[in-house]
């Protein structure tokens, strides 16, 4: 098993001290300092902005402290908010010419910023920032037209989480997730609702990633390489039909409750409050959900993975580190990103909070110390890795808006104001306008 190797690697890394066992990155940095070419000893202050929970804020601050201890001439000021406010704030500061030097980014927005010249092409600082250890599955995910604007922090997959205890109460077996179809899923949700006090499943129509996987199973995708919509109207209509079937067979709660559950976020989800048996989430949310629900939740493959042309699930870069195009200190900023990405001192604090580390060496380093839930997520990702079809292209400019369009139209469908066909037509026209 790979675990043993990882353990051995971890042991040598810890024993070898800070820069001894870990190769390239820090050595280059040190050399740079000495030569005075890339980075100087000049006192430099950089700003790093991220979104996240309180736990992430604390952890990130500790990573910053460790970095500063190693580079006394660089001071990092942290700026953080929750996800909701983050993009308003970032857009405003960037527009005001006051962009943070280093920013946490996301694939829906990366292109928006890159295309408008707000981000630094990281190939220009490749002497300082080592990208060679990235998992090939996501290594290219921050690349736009030959330049690299974002470094993936970690890997995520959108998938189904189930509560085995609810299945037990209902007297139902967990499904065989390698072969089940969408019809099986709808049927199972209805059966669960009937035989438990809670609901079979949480509505899945509020995240466009669900549509994306549905489309990929049919050999389509959310977007094409050249930034157009990549799915047919029929696919979107079929997708909403599944949502409607779930509602009408009682597999999901009625539209009002669904809307409220949705507004409550992860913490108020049916899984978290023990009121539902199945829901779709990102794998890195398993830890938080297991904790809130107090149950040992389990990850399953998407329904329909073997039903059509190809499996639809994919590895997504959980988030990115990016550097502002107009930072006065690109080398120092790159040095910090390198620390976040490649240094075990940072990794042992961040663990899998920013996804399963995209740096494969760091991944092996953190694996032995994961909590059971994190461990399960890591194992699950490893298990499905070989099944996946090619990764989806970087979303086009305007992709950040697609989420809210999907949510709005989904509500119209659930409340019976649009048929799935009308919804698909409306979605295509609004989505085209948003990314056009």
């Amino acid at each position: 098993m790979a675990l043993v190797g990882a353990l051995a690697l971890a042991a040598t890394a810890c024993g070898g001290g800070d820069s001894g066992a870990t190769p390239a990155p820090e050595d280059t940095a040190a050399a740079g300092n000495g030569a005075g070419e890339t980075t100087s000893d000049e006192q430099v202050t950089l700003r790093f902005s991220w979104w996240g929970s309180d736990a992430r804020h604390e952890d990130t601050q500790e990573v910053i402290d460790r970095f500063e201890a190693e580079h006394p001439n660089i001071k990092i000021e942290g700026e953080y908010t929750g996800w909701g406010d983050y993009w308003d704030r970032l857009a405003t500061t960037v527009a005001g010419g006051d962009a943070p030097d280093i920013m946490q980014h996301e694939s829906r927005y990366l292109r928006e910023y890159a295309d408008r010249g707000a981000l630094l092409d990281l190939t220009t600082v490749s002497d300082t920032l080592d990208l060679s250890e990235l998992d090939p599955l996501v290594a290219e995910s921050g690349a736009v037209d030959g330049a690299v604007y974002g470094v993936p922090t970690g890997i995520n997959a959108y998938t189904l989480m189930v509560d085995p205890q609810a299945f037990e109460e209902a007297g139902l077996e967990l499904p065989d997730d390698t072969s089940w179809t969408w019809d099986d899923f709808v049927q199972l949700a209805a059966d669960l609702s009937e035989n438990t006090e809670g609901y079979g499943a949480q509505d899945k129509g509020f995240n466009e990633t669900d549509l994306q996987i549905f489309a990929r199973q049919r050999g389509e995708d959310m977007y094409t390489e050249d930034g157009q919509l990549g799915f047919s109207q029929q696919t979107a209509a079929d997708w909403w039909q599944v949502g409607l079937d779930l509602l009408e067979t009682g597999g999901t709660p009625d539209a009002s409750i669904t809307t409220e559950v949705q507004a409550g976020g992860v913490d108020q989800s049916l899984l978290a409050t023990n009121r539902g048996a199945m829901a779709f989430f990102w794998t890195n949310e398993l830890g938080a959900l297991s904790e809130t629900s107090g149950r040992e939740l389990q990850l399953l493959r998407y329904p329909g993975e073997s039903e059509h042309e190809q499996p639809g699930m994919f590895f997504k870069p959980a988030m990115f580190y990016a550097v502002a195009a107009d930072t006065p200190h690109p080398e120092e900023a790159a040095l910090f990103v390198d620390f976040l990405l490649n240094d075990e001192q940072a990794a042992e604090i961040i663990m899998t909070d920013r996804g399963l580390p995209a740096n494969t060496r760091i991944r092996d380093f953190v694996l032995p110390d994961l909590s059971p839930a994190e461990q399960q997520a890591a194992d699950f990702l490893a298990e499905i890795e070989d099944e996946l079809a090619s990764p989806p292209p970087v979303p086009p400019v305007g992709a950040g808006e697609i989420v809210s369009i999907v949510q709005r139209i989904n509500e119209e469908v659930l409340f019976g104001r649009l048929t799935p066909e009308e919804a698909a037509e409306r979605f295509l026209s609004e989505a085209n306008a948003a990314i056009g």
Binding site: G84, W87, D88, A91, T92, V94, A95, E112, Y113, R116, G117, A118, D254, A255, S256, I257, T259, E260, A263, G398, G400, E401, S404, Q407, R408, E411, E412, F415, R417, A434
Partner: protein, 324 residues
């Protein structure tokens, strides 16, 4: 004039002001003092003027310019003339937001004012412990647009909330008041009506101004309570009603927080609470469409200005000022 100069003068100012009142002083001295006071006044007002210029007027003019551009926040604005305004005509969500906002304003403001007036009259009857009641009824006005109340609203009026729990006791299954598109706006209207405190306090003050002898005279003539209200209270209160109407109308058009929090910023469910300001916010900060958002803001300004103008014109026909 230096700042210390002014400070000194203003510091000595109050101490010497009683003097002219008693000795009156010569005209020339008085003129000099007036000029001096005026300078001091300007100086004290200067921060406010600077604030007005840079924080209010500047950005307002800036947004007027931006409304004629395509501006994504990240790149420089690009002049597109009237494009943004033309785009509105073909934007269904723009019209949705107008419909939602007008419904909200024209239902909630009259209800709120009627409610405020009713309570003001009741309280004006010389209730014991008036200050306590006044404070209690005023409280929602302070809290009404706060995040906490919007969240509370969700708890109380949610599909599985307090209201439906009570309804369930009598065998009625209520809808999700905040989460069903047919009801969500109504629950926000109720929220706005609930914040009747500030117009109520103003009504109370207005009622206190009406001389008691009018009522005494009317009672002598045998007027009923309703006739007293209809013939004395209401006419004499029209300036106050007018003032409250103008104020609350403008306030209601600018409502944002309630819808933002209750719907989680989406204006949902299914756009049923898409207030104009919320849509503007979504375009500007959600879709990086600041040019269009600026144009939306200016259209809102025009609408509110037009309605206020109509209000003032119409006031000639129903507002009664005692000295006319």
């Amino acid at each position: 004039m230096s700042a210390t100069d002014a400070a000194e003068r203003s510091a000595t100012g109050p101490a010497t002001t009683p003097e002219p009142a008693t000795s009156a002083g010569t005209p020339r001295r008085r003129r000099g003092r007036v000029a001096e006071d005026r300078r001091a006044a300007w100086l004290f007002l200067l921060p406010w003027f600077l604030g007005l210029a840079f924080i209010t007027v500047g950005p307002i003019l800036g947004s007027l310019y931006l409304s004629f551009t395509d501006y994504s926040l990240l790149t420089a604005p690009e002049w597109t003339g009237l494009d943004n305004y033309r785009r509105m005509l073909g934007d269904p969500r723009f019209f949705t937001s107008l419909r939602v906002t007008f419904t909200y304003v024209f239902v909630s403001v009259p209800l709120q004012l009627a409610f405020a007036l009713l309570l003001a009259i009741v309280l004006n009857r010389g209730v014991r412990g008036l200050p306590i009641y006044r404070s209690i009824y005023y409280l929602p006005s302070l809290l009404g647009s706060s995040v906490a109340i919007a969240i509370l609203w969700r708890r109380v009026f949610g599909a599985e909330g307090l209201v439906n729990a009570v309804l369930a006791l009598v065998g009625i299954q209520g809808p999700g008041w905040v989460s069903h598109p047919d009801w969500a706006l109504s629950s926000l209207i109720v929220l706005n009506v609930w914040t009747f405190g500030s117009p109520m306090v103003i009504f109370l003050a207005g009622l206190r101004q009406i001389p008691g002898m009018y009522y005494e005279a009317a009672q002598v003539d045998g007027a009923s309570t309703w006739q007293q209200f209809r013939r004395i209270t209401l006419p004499l209160l029209t300036p106050i009603i007018f003032f409250n109407l103008v104020l609350q109308l403008i306030n209601a058009f600018q409502s944002f927080t309630q819808a933002f929090i209750v719907s989680g910023g989406t204006g949902g469910p299914a756009d049923s609470t898409l207030f104009y300001t919320l849509y503007l916010y979504q375009r500007g900060f959600g879709a990086f469409d600041m040019g269009y958002a600026s144009a939306l803001a200016w259209v809102l300004l025009m609408i509110v200005a037009a309605l206020t103008a109509i209000n003032f014109l119409a006031s000639k026909y129903w507002v009664f000022y005692g000295d006319e």
